[in-house]
């Protein structure tokens, strides 16, 4: 991550624009209180937190720069969605889909973009329209299965 992903400009730009970044070496004694607080077990372990320390999104594992940037945007969008900042969530999901439409997390972004639009408007048609787009663009993903009850 430190050698390949973080040095890339697209990753740095998103982190700097939207976050306060902090790292903990999990072999260092001083990190143990934070490790225990967040039940850390495996690296890379990435979390998005509120300013009160509440966790809003997480993922594990190495991702190359473009996949990481897409995952970060989707994670930030999910965090804003959970905070009910719908306009910010929508903008971040749309950015993820526009810049990284073939990324691994694009189906997740499309799924929750529909949710964010629905939560903002209260119109069921916004949810269904977004999920239909998910089925069309990403037909063979877990997120397509997860909306298939409709």
């Amino acid at each position: 991550m430190g050698a390949v992903t973080y040095p890339q400009a697209e990753v740095r730009e998103i982190l700097e624009r939207a976050t306060i970044p902090i790292q903990f070496d999990n072999t260092v004694d001083a990190a143990q209180p934070i490790i225990k607080r967040y039940h850390h077990i495996w690296t890379p372990d990435l979390r998005i937190l509120t300013g009160d320390g509440d966790e809003l999104y997480r993922w594990n594992g190495y991702l190359p720069p473009a996949e990481f940037a897409a995952q970060l945007l989707a994670g930030l969008a999910q965090a804003r969605l959970r905070l009910r900042a719908f306009d910010e969530a929508i903008a971040l999901y749309e950015e993820a889909l526009k810049r990284f439409p073939t990324s691994l997390c694009a189906p997740e972004a499309q799924y929750f973009l529909a949710v964010a639009n629905y939560r903002k408007s209260g119109e069921g048609s916004d949810l269904l329209k977004g999920w239909h787009r998910l089925e069309g663009r990403y037909p063979l993903t877990e997120w397509t299965v997860k909306q298939d009850f409709k």
Binding site: M1, Y6, A9, T19, I35, G51
Partner: protein, 42 residues
């Protein structure tokens, strides 16, 4: 302060914070979210 070109940072390295409580406080003041990375140097 990072320089920007067309609204995009040109900083060469991510400015990782060193204090967890300081990062939370900065997030509260700026309205940003905290990005927390647990890593293993090995």
């Amino acid at each position: 302060m990072a320089q920007t070109v067309n609204g995009h940072s040109t900083a060469s390295e991510i400015q990782w914070r060193t204090s967890f409580e300081g990062a939370l406080d900065e997030a509260r003041k700026t309205g940003k979210l905290v990005f927390l990375d647990f890593f293993n140097p090995g």
